[in-house]
Amino acid sequence: MEKTFKRCQSLYDVPTHYCPGCGHGIAHRLVAEVVDELKIREKTIGIAPVGCAVVAYDYWNFDCSEAAHGRALAVATAIKRVRPQNIVFTYQGDGDLAAIGTNETIHAANRGENLSVVFINNAVYGMTGGQLAPTTLLGQKTSTSIEGREKKAHGFPLKISEMLALLPGVCYIERVSLESPVEVLKAKRAIKQAFENQINNLGFSLVEILSPCPTYWGLTPKESLDWIRDVMRKEFPLGRIK
């Protein structure tokens, strides 16, 4: 019988450290599937962020580097510039990409660096215990906004993808979600597009993935998926932004 579904070569056969219902495992797998399908594993260099996904290199079977918190796109910029023959991508959370690393994000995008960015937006700081993130929704309770995010004290959820879409150096931006199998397949297509753009030297591509964090949303895994569909998507609408 023909095997129609198998483990990716780009993913090690090991359990991950992620919480039950977390989206990182799915997102890691999507990246690995895309790398396999494009046959670029042997020339891919991934940049892991500081955050829950810091040890992504324990799961991905290709060259990886850590970067200091927020600096993934500075590190990736240099690697791609000195080794343009490699495929270089960053994998970053909302705190990493849209708070401490906003400057690196904007300027790498504005230079039109030929990179692919996988941006995990789960509206909260996971690794440090569920603090307010730049993308936390108004009213959302976190350990540093216990009454819920309030616009006067905390400002509004930051739509970094829409901001980046204004920059001429940016080639492609799409927001996707992990809330259902259909959306997961769309997410994979978007990640593949971002990698293909790099292969075709088209410039800066970013895929924002709305990803569940049941632990710090105080919801069950199933409720978390529903929350993305019913609440989070209203603030962060899905689809092609650029």
Binding site: I45, V54, S65, E66, A74, I79, R81, E104
Partner: protein, 375 residues
């Protein structure tokens, strides 16, 4: 203020002459030395008084005569943080990489330098010091000595710190820095000051003959190049498993121990007969040399120890048997290197200090006055 006494060649360096002389500033010498050493990546952010380096690198790396490959990649970064992390990335990909800045900018880079040290990446970082703390001013100073020699960022680590005393030495030591960085997989800092950076002197274009020629790509098996034909490489400084960080830190410490033994660099003048030994580095040592030549012309027995490597701090020249010799430590700061001299002398002899900072530089007359009081 140019010292008119001959200096001894510091340890471990032979010179390959190409016999070409040019008149350039210290900043340009550092940039040219980096190009000569095969620096393939530079990222920086403008700050006075080192802007000639970023301008020179920009020009050199873009220059691409017909038929010749580009010399390297230049990026004007959006911040010092981005610049040092770009150096981290280029170095992780196996390329010789450098950044340069001045005091406040170097403070910003400290996080990245700590990561570079933790990930065992080679890199060259140039600090052309200005006055501090805070925004300070743009006058020359030596007040980043503690930051440079004690690591500077978080964690138990060191940089190799080299302090050139002339434009020629700035050119030579920059090349040596790249070799040391690759050899020990350690960040190396060139520590100069605004005078050294701006001053112009004739420089002989040459390649110092150190043990290591420019290493080729295959000598960096840890570099990120894509995992074709091998297991994936990981560049990281995060060790979460119990005991793993201690193990990694002990490896760093063993590396530092070897460097301490092998990489002391210094210059000594007249120390065997001296009653007072001046201790100074960089620009301060040049002024000290001028004072020494005046003092010796009237028969005063004065010598000089000039540390060239500030980390590892030279221990050997301070191992003097004569209990009556006195040291006078001179700095363009308020007693930072003084602490290392005290550790090296270990209470065997008396130590005096003269320092100014914030734009003030101890001059020959002040040094001579102080020496006459001590003698």
């Amino acid at each position: 203020m140019r010292g008119n006494l001959p200096g001894l060649l510091y340890s471990g360096m032979q010179i390959n002459m190409l016999k070409k002389r040019v008149l350039i500033s210290g900043n340009e010498a550092i940039a040219q030395g980096a190009i000569q050493a095969g620096c393939g990546f530079y990222a920086g952010y403008p700050i006075t008084p080192q802007n000639e380096i970023i301008a020179y690198m920009s020009k050199q790396m873009a220059a691409c005569p017909a038929g010749r490959p580009k010399k390297g990649v230049f990026i004007q970064a959006e911040s010092e943080l981005a610049a040092i992390n770009m150096v981290y990335g280029a170095s992780a990909a196996g390329v010789r990489a450098m950044t340069s800045s001045s005091s406040p900018g170097i403070s910003l880079k400290q996080e990245g330098i700590s990561y570079i040290a933790g990930a065992r990446l080679p890199a060259v970082i140039v600090n052309i010091m200005r006055g501090g703390p805070g925004l300070g001013n743009i006058a020359p100073a030596q007040s980043d000595y503690f930051q440079a020699t004690r690591g500077g960022g978080h964690g138990d680590y060191h940089l190799i710190v080299l302090a050139p005393g002339s434009v020629q030495e700035a050119y030579d030591l920059t090349q040596v820095s790249f070799d040391l960085a690759d050899k020990y997989r350690i960040p190396v800092m060139i520590l100069g000051d605004g005078i050294l950076g701006q001053m112009m002197e004739p420089v002989i274009i040459r390649r110092p003959k150190t043990q290591d020629r420019r290493p080729k790509q295959q000598t960096k098996p840890w570099a990120l190049t894509g995992c074709k034909g091998r297991k994936p490489n990981i560049v990281k400084s995060f060790f979460l498993r119990e005991g793993a960080l201690e193990e990694a830190n002990l490896k760093l410490q063993r590396n530092y121990e070897i460097i301490r033994k092998k990489e002391e660099r210094f210059e000594c003048l007249f120390i065997s007969e001296a009653k007072v030994i001046l201790v100074a580095y960089g620009t301060m040592a040049r002024i000290a040399k001028s004072a020494i030549s005046q003092l010796r012309s009237v028969g005063k027995k004065v010598g000089l120890i000039r540390p060239v490597s500030l980390w590892p701090f030279p221990q050997k020249p301070f191992n003097l048997k004569n209990k009556n010799v006195k040291y006078l430590v001179l700095e363009m700061s308020y007693g930072q290197m003084l602490e290392d001299v005290k550790l090296a002398v270990c209470g065997r002899q008396r130590i005096e200090f003269l320092g100014r900072s914030g734009g003030g530089v101890p001059n020959e007359a002040q040094i001579i006055n102080k020496v006459m009081k001590i003698l």
